[in-house]
Amino acid sequence: MEKGDDVVEVNEMADVETRLRKAATEVRMHALEMVHHARVGHPGGDLSATDILVTLYLAVMRIDPANPAWPERDRFIMSKGHCSGAFYATLAQAGLLDVNLLKTYMDPLSMLNGHPDRNKIAGVEANTGPLGHGLPIATGTALAAKIQDAAWRTFVMTGDGELQEGSNWEAAMTAAQYGLDNLVLIVDRNRIQQGDFTENTIKMDPLADKWRAFGWAVDEVDGHDYKALLQRFQTLPIEPGKPTCIIAHTIKGHGVSFMENKPEWHHGVPTAEQLAAAKVELMEAAR
């Protein structure tokens, strides 16, 4: 019996991975098309965050696309709001946003502003863009669940350079003090910020030790490995009574060889030729 269950589980896991890979490819293609269309955006961070976003929205979080304001929903707060291309495209995959709207990214009067607005899109929980806002807000939503004995969980994604903002560490202390084990922070550790590599700018390492010292339970994972992400998200919290920090090691520009690991693609805009080359590469990798 047990063996049979394992087989089913393995097969299910493989099915989920296939589904996530397909969705992530579509999200990456959309994000690059959107940045190309708008002639502005942040493709490098879009591509590093994509696999985490689709894993959360399609396989982890309890949400109801028919009722985005369902009070018991899990919350996701995209603190790195500049990566709105991948975020919007993921919301579309999750049924929280009309996929046709993606074509209007940053057009005049579009619902899809460069940074997300919760008053325009039902699936957006917080208006982010200025860095260091998401974790305090996520601390508040997690605290609201604790105060009301509610079961929803809060997920929040920050960049790694973003952690240079002091407000994150204020929130880190509050979350630990209140024992918010219903709060999960995912750090998109792509090691690049706008101007340079993080470690050439303001050193973030040893990042896991920093979070541990602030009273969080920490794990590290390959942020492009669906299986590893799913397994990590399946057993939360890491430690009862402590907020969870998952440092997701990612590659900025992941999936497009000429963008990978290059600071200039933080907010570089692909030309038509570059877009076409990127799409070919993404489609081939998805086969």
Binding site: N119, H133, I137, T139, G140, I147
Partner: protein, 323 residues
């Protein structure tokens, strides 16, 4: 209990009405939550903490985080009253106030205590004479400056039932009661506390009772002064301001705030466009205050009944000269 203490002279610290109304609302409304930045005693919320410990959140000395946590609590269905010294909860966390409260329209009630120069001798680091300039320009944010305990209580109840961000600017300086006990705060509605047709004095907060005293003094000289309490800074009552510009010889504004960007600025913006009139803008004249008690500093800057009287008379004299 702290919240019910009043002084023997009939002067009241509006923080007591603030704390009492918060406790009263929390008794029947399980969503009412208090959030502080360690400021447990300066917000007079010890009573709230004792009665509703689960709904009392102390984020520590961390204002940016505090406003964000407030936004998150609101997202989770609670009605957070986020409280701390006005100088810190505005200036230190200005971007959170703009984005997490105003832009995102989160249902957070920000309560700035000891505003203006209430901290007196502690000096300009602790004065908050810029907060109206900063807050009244933020879309979606209702800005309220109560004048007495009656208005404080009413504004607190209004804020709790209003869906959207609110900034309540409170002092700690004792004030007398200027409103009838059945007074109800209404956003965007100025309160004409005294009718008059020669000159208008518009004030808010701790200076309203001084404006009323000014009107008494002017009456002795045969001058009829209209006194308006502009407790609702945003939205602001354009109609009442334009009416005063039309019906009286000029407007004196009085605020415990910089003369730039606050009440005087708001009134000037309106009359300049709709009915230009003579004005005097009384407040702190673009300087950091010297050392002194709150009472001393108000006197130093002419924010007294005598100072307002002089300004009103100058305004009327100019009218005569101008013919």
């Amino acid at each position: 209990m702290n919240a019910e203490v009043t002084t023997k002279t009939g002067m009241f610290d509006c923080r007591d009405a603030f704390a009492a109304s918060l406790e009263e609302m929390a008794a029947t409304n399980p969503t009412i939550t208090a959030v502080v930045n360690d400021s447990v005693s300066s917000t007079k919320l010890k009573g709230f903490r004792g009665k509703y410990p689960k709904r009392f959140v102390n984020v520590g000395i961390a204002e940016q985080n505090m406003l964000g946590v407030g936004a998150g609590l609101a997202n989770g269905g609670l009605v957070p009253f986020v409280c701390g010294a006005s100088c810190f909860v505005t200036a230190r966390s200005m971007e959170q106030l703009k984005v997490d409260l105003g832009y995102a329209k989160n249902n957070v009630k920000l309560c700035g205590m000891s505003s203006g120069m209430a901290y007196g001798e502690l000096g300009p680091t602790h004065h908050s004479i810029e907060d109206l300039a900063w807050t009244r320009v933020i879309p979606n944010l209702t800005v309220i400056v109560p004048a007495d305990p009656v208005e404080t209580r009413s504004a607190m109840f209004w804020a709790a039932q209003h869906k959207g961000p609110v900034f309540v600017r409170l002092s700690r300086m004792p004030v007398p009661i200027v409103h009838a006990s059945d007074y109800v705060f209404s956003p965007g509605k100025a309160v004409t506390l005294r009718e008059g047709n020669d000159v208008t004095v518009i004030a808010n907060g701790v200076l309203v009772h001084r404006a009323l005293e000014t009107a008494e003094r002017l009456a002795k000289d045969g001058i009829s002064a209209r006194v308006i309490n502009m407790s609702s800074m945003a939205p602001i009552d354009r109609e009442t301001i334009v009416q005063a510009a039309k019906e009286t010889a000029g407007i004196v504004t009085v605020e415990e705030h910089s003369v730039y960007g606050g009440l005087g600025g708001a009134v000037a913006e309106i009359v300049a466009l709709e009915h230009p009139t003579r004005m005097k803008i009384l407040g702190v004249p673009g300087v950091f205050a010297p050392t002194g008690s709150a009472e001393f500093l108000l006197e130093h800057f002419g924010l007294t009944a005598a100072g307002i009287e002089q300004a009103a008379k100058e305004l009327l004299a100019k009218r005569v000269i101008a013919g």
